[in-house]
Amino acid sequence: MSKQIVVTILAVAFVCFLIAIFTFSVVTPPQPPENNYGLWEFILIDGFWHTNWQEGPNLYDIAFKYHPADVDDIKITGYQPSEEFSARKEVYITFALDASPEEMKHLAVASADLNFNLYQVLNKNVINACITNVTGCEGRPVMGCEEGKSVIKVLQADEPAITITTPECVTLQGPGEELGKAVSRLLYAWYGIIE
């Protein structure tokens, strides 16, 4: 084989190689970031971590504000939620309406996040309540932890934490945006994604 033919073959091979790389990079769309947690597959879309969760025949696409690896160090202390807590159709989300405007934003976001998951996925009716009777609590039940009711207390506090005060009362707390981490951590526990 002459030297010219070898050079030609190599040149053609090189051009084909470049075309293949170019075609692959153009045709293959950029994939959303993936970051699995155990056997659970998570995809980041528009700032939210999505995963599929199945219960019976229903498959849900659930979006979380935080990836499980970002919240699995948040401890859940206290009791195990009672069977009654899980069995009741109504869940009361109660928080302090006299919090500062800045705190209220985080409380409202936490409440909405819980509301979506409790209703759409866990099939619960959410009732917005108040911890104490202050302005704005007209038309809302006022309650802390009450026997015979399933209550989630949402608080702004210094440390991010989840406490189950009684088997029927869950307290979620955290400073500022950290409260959202406590919400994600609780939901991951309920979905069985974090043990």
Partner: protein
């Protein structure tokens, strides 16, 4: 227990439940805020405003105290409102969605001008264009969720789509007269 006692308890239970503004139905809980009946749905909280069924992400009682400036209430009477946003940040899709929400959820009698603060995808409007008859709402991204009113212009910022939406939706509720 005789019939009168049963009726008595029934009346008491209805009055207590009604007083709390809470009714439970098969479709989700129902709560009343400022005379508006809100039903929990898969999409959010649904109510009828101006004869139209409208769904919101947040229950109004949960965002009524998020610090919207009192001057925002003056937007309720305006016939023209410009909703503009920064198109160059991560929250741009959320801004665009809320801009659409303002157009969709406010009554037809309010003319919404859809705009951006820079670029060329939509007309350019900033606080500099705000007038008393045609105020401007600007959505932007920042470290904190804030809302500031200066000279007929309300600037709402947020750290993420959800945090930002608390105030944007509080403004919608205010303009619709749900939050007073």
């Amino acid at each position: 227990m005789d019939k009168r006692k049963v009726m008595g308890w029934f009346v008491i239970i209805v009055m207590v439940a009604g007083g709390m503004g809470v009714v439970l139905t098969g479709d989700g809980s129902v709560q009343t805020y400022n005379g508006y009946k809100f039903t929990q749905t898969a999409q959010g909280w649904q109510t009828k405003v101006n004869g139209q069924n409208t769904v919101f992400n947040f229950y109004p009682g949960n965002i009524a105290f998020t610090g919207l400036p009192p001057e925002a209430a003056s937007f309720k009477d305006k016939k023209v409102l410009t909703v503009s946003y920064n198109p160059d940040v991560d929250l741009t899709p959320a801004f665009a969605q809320l801009q659409y929400d303002f157009e969709l959820k406010l009554p037809d009698s309010v003319f919404i001008i859809r705009a951006v603060t820079n670029g060329s995808s939509l007309p350019l409007f900033t606080c500099a264009n705000a007038t008393s008859s045609s105020p401007v709402v600007v959505f932007d991204q920042a470290e904190n969720a804030t809302s500031t009113y200066i000279d007929n212009c309300l600037t709402i910022t947020g750290f993420d789509a959800y945090g930002f939406a608390t105030q944007a939706e509080a403004l919608l509720y205010t303009m619709l007269g749900v939050i007073e």
